[in-house]
Amino acid sequence: MSITEILLSPDFLFVVLRVTTPILFATLAVTIAARSGVFNIAIEGIMLIAALVGVIFSAKLQNPWLGLLAALIAGGAIGLLLGVLVLRLKTDAILAGVAINLMASGGTIFLLYLVSGDRGVSSSLKSLSLPNIAIPVIEQIPFLGTVLSRHNILTYLVFIMVVIVHFMLYKTPLGLKIRSVGENPHAAESVGINVHKIQYIALAMSGVLAAFGGAFLSMGYLSWFTNGMTAGRGYIGLAANAMGGSTPIGGLIVSLIFGIADAMANVFQTGASLPYELVQMIPYITTIAGLAVYSLNRKKRQERIINK
């Protein structure tokens, strides 16, 4: 098969949606926090912790849904913790995020060893995965069925989540408050909005969204936990949010581009037309190139406005 044939095949498009899922959850998580005015770099660590918590609880309780729930609670709690650090203790948001990420990467190894005696991979835990879902009618349609059906339930959820987050940000009183707090906290305060309360809510939501992404990695994408399995997806979410102009729809488009890059890495890996090590770079190079092009355009646009 030629490259174009591969890239237009339904199997490839299926993989695109699959690998976009965690990136898109991360991007939405960054977006909500950024809109409330907090730069949430801790997404990477939250995803990693949620991935492990999901595995542990689904194994101990033998119920994937309770595993997911535990992961979401953990994610929300860490989001709130970041809120306490940044809003109450006035910690630099980036350094607080770095601290959380450091604790997550070491802490997950520590916790995994404590629970299972394993280092690295949670193979001895009999953890459960969230179900894949076949969509009745669509499944029968030749091309479309292969692309859209039999995805993990969280893959469907993330696309629904784009709509929900968009609606929440632009059509609800809470969304209006989040946006006004992020754009001008003093103005928001002067009209009686409790700035910190709104930011806490945004960070909790951000943590829950990131936790969905982490749970997908260990209970959908794979069915176990490995050290550092997020592999920078949280950081890619930071880039996708920046390029998407901090909007859910923009984030969706950029995440899909990164998803395509990621899926191409998977295809070339099996096709062996390029060394695997170079193929692995594709998503990261795409991210940097995309970020640079986007930032340059924005800079030029701003300069044009100033010169008018």
Binding site: I41, L85, R88, L89, K90, T91, D92, I94, L95, A96, V98, A99, I100, L102, M103, S105, G106, G107, I109, F110, Y113, L114, R119, A231, G232, Y235, I236, L238, A239, A242, P275, E277, L278, Q280, M281, Y284, I285, T287, I288, L291, A292, V293, Y294, S295, L296, R298, K299
Partner: protein, 355 residues
């Protein structure tokens, strides 16, 4: 009571103490032999010459990345590329060592300098992107670290690999390029002196040179620096090049001093560790060796603890995170500081009134 000028030292010490106590509490919660575990962690590194030497060996790379990040952060550039610079420094040193035969005296110097230059170029990429496109240096440096890793894996697999060895590793490095050990019976190598000299150089550069002054000023207040006529772009570029160079040298020194082959198939994390070293030393390179020693000590202590007890060494990650948070949190002890300052002001007013 304390003077307000001593407050920062006190606050740092208290942050460390609280972080250690919390970590010990965790050990008490999870371990069947907590007292033994904690004792092993605290006294383990002192129990033999070899173990204490491990602390000094681990301190060396931490000094390099610590000084590197101190310089890069002083310019208010949140460039996290020290990790990638360090990795590439080790890679280039291995390439020079294996592929370019040279005589004993020149070989390590050439390898280290080329490693440093590679690190410098690498760390300048986010700065250049920032200057020309305004792309966040934080995000691009994070992405670049992964690219450095995979580039290293590629060169290792296709050009350096020793196919007779079982694992993925390079051929043996020639003796001519390796850094000699300076304490018999240990791996403490001549890189220790290079690291300490780098720390002194970093201090002189940041705090005693005109360029360093400009760098700190533009880091603290970019607009002020710009209106004072400083060339911000040059200052930022130099800071990132220098920071990357030092991290690259660190990677080269680490490889040539501690390894027989290049086998780094993952990032080693010294760039991330540098953030805690920088936080502890308040971006002053002169204090970096002290902070690096502390971090190396608890790391090795935790390692020793995990060998003979049921606690895994990653407990240190929790200690580290808490230390960073407490030191960076402005509000931590701010009420106490306020009291100290107010008391001193009152005393001063009273003595002046008495005169």
């Amino acid at each position: 009571m304390l003077k307000s000028s001593q407050f920062n030292t006190f606050r740092t010490a208290l942050s460390i103490a609280i972080a250690l106590i919390l970590s010990f509490l965790v050990i008490f919660l999870v371990s069947d032999q907590p007292v033994e575990a904690i004792m092993r962690m605290i006294t383990g590194p002192l129990s033999s010459k070899r173990l204490f030497a491990n602390v000094i060996e681990l301190m060396i790379p931490l000094i390099f990345t610590g000084v590197s990040v101190s310089i890069m952060f002083s310019a208010n550039q949140i460039n996290l590329g020290a990790e990638g610079s360090f990795h590439l420094g080790g890679l280039v040193a291995a390439v020079v060592g294996l592929m370019v035969p040279m005589s004993q005296g020149v070989h390590p110097i050439a390898a280290i300098l080329l490693g440093g230059l590679t690190g410098a170029v690498f760390a300048a990429i986010p700065a250049i992107l920032k200057i020309f496109t305004t792309a966040s240096e934080l995000v691009s440096s994070l992405m670049l670290n992964y690219i450095a890793l995979f580039l290293g894996n590629y060169i290792l697999s296709y050009y350096l690999r020793d196919t007779t060895a079982g694992a993925l590793t390079s051929h043996l490095l020639p003796e001519s390029v390796k850094l000699q050990s300076i304490v018999s019976g240990t791996n403490i190598h001549i890189g220790l002196f290079i690291a300490l000299l780098t720390a002194v150089f970093g201090y002189l550069f940041l705090f005693k040179s005109k360029l360093g002054y400009m760098l700190r000023i533009s880091g603290e207040n970019e607009k002020f620096a710009k209106y004072s006529g400083m060339n911000i772009v040059t200052v930022i570029l130099i800071s990132q090049l220098l920071g990357g160079f030092i991290a690259g040298v660190g990677g080269s020194v680490q490889l040539l001093g501690m390894y027989r082959r290049f086998s780094w198939a993952a990032l080693l994390g010294y760039g991330w560790d540098a953030i805690i070293v920088t936080t502890l030393s308040k971006k002053n390179p002169l204090f970096v060796p002290l902070a690096a020693f502390f971090l190396a000590y608890i790391r090795i202590g935790a390692d020793i603890m995990s060998r003979s007890t049921d606690v895994s060494p990653e407990i240190v990650a929790i200690t580290q995170g808490i230390i960073i948070i407490l030191i960076v949190a402005e509000q931590f002890l701010s009420g106490y500081k306020h009291k100290l300052v107010a008391r001193e002001a009152r005393l001063q007013m009273e003595t002046e009134g008495a005169e």
